[in-house]
């Protein structure tokens, strides 16, 4: 019957307990702050405008759909999950994205990927990544150009956010991400030659590294607060590093180093904030490990052989697809049940 529940326990023991769902979401939002702050420091206030706009869209869209679905709006908004989706999508977009781009992304995330599937807890795909992937394939010009680090208020910030900047001028403002640049160096160019030409604007690589470390710090906070378990981040980063190392050792002149893969792009952000979304991830511990390994492997594969410079969104969505299968095949054996003897695996279920 359990008259006792973790959040009703007002003892010292409470510190070790899992917080309730709503505060779980809020903790994740808090943990994104170091990453967002570091990004803003290097890439300007456009990062913050992204996050605020996306969060506002998220809450407004969630409220609108809940109203259409005749659900208690106040109660369900209180879980902060829409806010979190907004923060995560906002943090993934290129700084100072135009408002309409964010709006389209959030419609895909909240309305299509989340609410149409039944709301919190029922979405098979990570909402923020659905939004991101839709934008990436629909508006590649806006999505692949990333302004080089140039202080808090870059040129044309407001025009960019308002969407009034002519596309021709966009190019002049933006550069490529390190992953993008490396991808398009061409087969004939060796890695050492590529780096020797200092292909990126001053400080870009350094900025990306700091941002990566800031996401890592937020992730460690989540682990320490027991908001997420170690299984998915460790498995994902582990498989990514192992694969990247194998490629790098096989041909260092063409493949990027594991450290490069780890610290640039969305690797650490994805490992701690995206892949760990419990709703769309595998549930059993074994399933989570497989899920993480799959994401890491897909990220490296797509980055190395695919058409996109970064791949966290696609990797996560592809592994979301595999979750029902992973869950089915990773059912733990209950204590006292006989070991599976014969028959095809999963036949019991």
């Amino acid at each position: 019957m359990s008259m006792m529940h973790a959040s009703g326990v007002n003892d010292a023991a409470k510190a070790t307990n899992v917080p309730p769902t709503a505060s779980l979401m809020r903790w994740v939002i808090i943990a994104t702050l170091p990453g967002i702050a570091t990004m803003s420091y290097f890439f300007g206030l456009g990062v913050i405008s992204n996050v605020l706009l996306a969060a506002a869209f998220g809450v407004a869209l969630e409220a609108a759909v809940l109203r259409l679905r005749r659900r208690p709006i106040r109660v369900m908004l209180n879980d902060s999950s829409a806010l979190l989706t907004g923060v995560l999508l906002g943090a993934s977009l290129p700084p100072a994205s135009p408002w309409w781009l964010i709006g389209v992304g959030m419609i895909a995330a909240i309305v299509v990927a989340k609410q149409l599937y039944g709301g919190l807890g029922h979405n098979p795909f990570n909402p923020a990544m659905v939004g991101y992937a839709l934008l990436l394939v629909s508006f590649p010009t806006y999505m692949t150009l990333w302004a080089p680090p140039q202080g808090l208020i870059p040129d044309g910030l407001w025009a960019q956010i308002a969407g009034t900047l002519p596309t021709a001028q966009l190019d002049s403002l933006s550069g490529a991400t390190p992953l993008d640049a490396f991808k398009h160096k061409g087969d004939a160019v060796l890695a050492s030659e590529f780096w020797a030409t200092s292909p990126l604007p001053e400080g870009t690589l350094n900025a990306w590294r700091w941002v990566g470390l800031a996401w890592l710090a937020g992730g460690v906070l989540l682990l320490a607060k027991r908001i997420i378990s170690w299984h998915i981040p460790v498995a994902m980063v582990g498989s990514l590093v192992v694969l990247a190392t194998l490629f790098y050792l096989s041909d260092p002149s063409h493949f990027a180093s594991p450290l490069f893969h780890l610290l640039t792009g969305a690797t650490l952000f994805g490992a701690f904030f995206i892949a760990t979304d419990p709703v769309s991830a595998a549930t059993s511990r074994r399933g989570k490990l497989l899920y993480g390994v799959g994401i890491g492997a897909l990220v490296i594969t797509i980055r190395t052989f695919g058409g996109y410079p970064d791949a966290v969104a696609f990797a996560v969505l592809l592994m979301n697809l595999c979750v029902p299968l992973l869950d089915l095949y990773s059912v733990p054996r209950p204590t006292g049940q006989p070991k599976a003897t014969s028959g095809k695996p999963g036949e019991r279920l």
Binding site: M1, S2, M3, M4, H5, A6, S7, G8, V9, N10, D11, A12, A13, T16, N17, V18, P19, P20, T21, A22, L24, V75, D79, S81, G119, L120, G121, H122, S229, P278, V279, A281, T283, S284, R285, K288, D327, V331, P332, R333, P334, T335, G336, Q337, P338, R348, L349
Partner: protein, 555 residues
């Protein structure tokens, strides 16, 4: 002592045991009236054997066990029976507290049958919570070889300290009770499993260990982690044995007993005192004098709480049992039974109701704390969807309902409530399915009874004839073929089927104390009728043959 083995999952709960464990164990005042339910044990309710107006002494039998899995019931005060209903017996006290005791038994010299009969007569049942009749449990060695007797002193639920206090006050007696059970079931080791949050009880046991004879006793202190007191979890922790799903500890050669039960067993054997009282923990913030009391069975919960100084304005709910697996009492006008180990008078702050349920976010926290390694979240999903096939395949019936999953759920989903509902729904379906089977068994029973009566009649008739014939000394014609061998085989087969029916009944009853046992009792009765019929036939055949053989031998 470090323990190398572990069960999966588990949670660390606030213990809240200090309030009741600090107070000394005292006798609760003698109640002026007791209400004794006929069902205070698993199996069939007992049948009353007293009528209103009867005078009874403490320890007189007032209801007899009914069927195989059942238990006798005794009065807990001396006085007059005032009411006998189909559910309970009420007795008014005469204030004398006169006792009726059975003679003392020396368990070392007493025979097995004598000891079992004593347990049966004394109405001893498992006091840990399930209330399984101890005399049936003690006969487990007829079907399984028992190697180890485990004393389950983990007492892992918060608040409860009844076993703790019992161990501190009666360590020697409890160990002696364990020796009696070890003798009955043939155990060669006794292992005590106790959580490390009971240092005084551990100290008391360590002192008593040396004097415990003849079976060696080992004390294993385990870290405090809920639910280490679950039978399967404790066996895993102490002995690294996995009790098979749907099986019993006996399947791996283990028998588990609660310290309180062992104490009651010793009292029954040594003092001839049936089960009329037990230790109850009274605790909770709404009580002024928390502590453990020796309480006569049938005492009203209300009186007990009043005496302990309950503050009605602060009281929010009274929970019988622990806060994890216990049940809130709907009314305080309810008696203490053999199964009442703890009463928590909780304030609202102390055990607040859970906040409103929110959707499952599949965080998997429930899975990480499940001590059976189930997937609580999938079970929740399928329980709500009433997908019975999936529920069975995800092993719903392996759930021990410990509540660890509900405890940690960040969305406050009452998971165990879902599982209990699903389980009872599935049980109901099974019962529907077995109804036809049951009708068939009823018919078979009738047939068997008629056959037995017929055989009895035949045998009597023949006996009469034989008596008439004997004086004339005319032997029955040897031409009348008596298939003695065939009858002997039939008799042995009937005997075997009685054994089998008993075994099934015992197993089912022990596995699932809540299940109705009518059908199995009926099958057992059928087998018994068949056996009687076979006995009569065999006796009759022997009777027929003996004159033959006599006449053959004489020449």
């Amino acid at each position: 002592m470090p323990s190398a083995y572990d069960f999966p999952g588990g949670v660390y709960l606030p213990e809240r045991k200090q309030r009741s464990s600090q107070a000394t164990l005292i006798e609760a005042p003698l109640p002026s009236r007791v209400t004794l339910p006929l069902q205070q044990h698993s199996g069939q309710p007992a049948t009353p054997c007293v009528a209103p107006g009867d005078r009874v002494k403490v320890g007189s039998v007032i209801a007899n066990r009914e069927g195989m899995i059942s238990s006798n019931l005794h009065t807990s005060i001396s006085g007059t029976v005032t009411e006998v209903t189909t559910a309970q017996i009420t007795i008014e006290s005469d204030g004398q507290d006169e006792w009726f005791r059975l003679p003392s038994l020396d368990w070392r010299s007493a025979g097995r049958h004598e000891l079992l009969e004593r347990l049966n007569e004394s109405g001893i049942v498992g006091l840990g919570g399930a209330g399984f009749p101890s005399h049936i449990k003690a006969r487990v060695d007829e079907r399984h070889a028992i190697d180890t007797l485990v004393i389950n002193a983990a007492e892992c639920e918060p608040y409860i300290t009844a076993d703790d206090l019992a161990l501190r006050h009666y360590p020697g007696e409890i160990l002696e009770g364990a020796q009696i059970i070890a003798k009955l079931c043939g155990a060669r080791h006794i292992v005590i499993g106790i959580e490390d949050n009971k240092p005084e009880a551990i100290g008391a046991l360590q002192q008593a260990l040396a004097d415990s004879q003849p079976v060696p006793v080992e004390l294993t202190v385990i870290p405090t982690r809920y639910p280490s007191g679950g039978e399967r979890q404790l066996i895993k922790k102490l002995l690294d044995l996995n009790v098979p799903s749907g099986g019993l500890p006996a399947d791996v050669g283990v028998l588990c007993h609660n310290p309180g039960t062992l104490l009651a067993i010793l009292h029954a054997v040594l003092d001839g005192q049936p089960l009329v009282s037990r230790i109850v923990t009274l605790t909770g913030e709404a009580i002024a004098q928390p502590g453990n009391r020796w309480v006569r069975l049938g005492t009203s919960v209300k009186e007990l709480l009043e005496e302990a100084g309950v503050n009605h304005s602060a009281l929010n709910q009274v929970i019988q049992g622990g806060p994890m697996m216990g049940t809130p009492l709907l009314t305080l006008d309810t008696p203490v039974t053999k199964l009442t180990n703890c009463l928590i008078a909780a304030t609202l702050d102390e055990l607040p109701p859970p906040p409103a349920e929110s959707p499952c976010i599949r965080c998997g926290e429930c899975e990480s704390v499940c001590p059976v390694a189930l997937l609580p979240q999938q079970l929740h999903w399928y329980a709500r969807a009433q997908d019975d096939t999936k529920l069975e395949r995800y092993h719903l019936f392996d759930c021990i309902e410990c509540g660890a999953c509900s405890y940690v759920c960040p969305s406050h989903i009452p998971l165990v409530v879902d599982y209990r509902e699903a389980k009872s729904r599935l049980r109901l379906q099974r019962i529907e399915a077995t109804k036809a089977e049951h009708a068939k068994h009823r018919f078979e029973f009738r047939q068997a009874r008629l056959a037995r009566e017929e055989a009895e009649k035949q045998a009597r008739k023949q006996a009469r004839q034989a008596q008439q014939r004997r004086p004339s000394n005319t032997a029955t014609s040897s031409s009348e073929k008596v298939d003695l061998r065939g009858l002997r085989i039939a008799h042995a087969a009937a005997k075997a089927s009685v054994k089998k029916a008993e075994k099934t009944l015992a197993r089912v009853a022990q596995e699932d104390p809540k299940q109705s046992l009518d059908d199995l009792e009926m099958q057992l009765a059928t087998a018994q009728e068949n056996l009687k019929a076979a006995e009569w036939q065999l006796a009759q055949a022997r009777e027929q043959q003996s004159p033959d053989s006599a006449s053959k031998e004489s020449p």
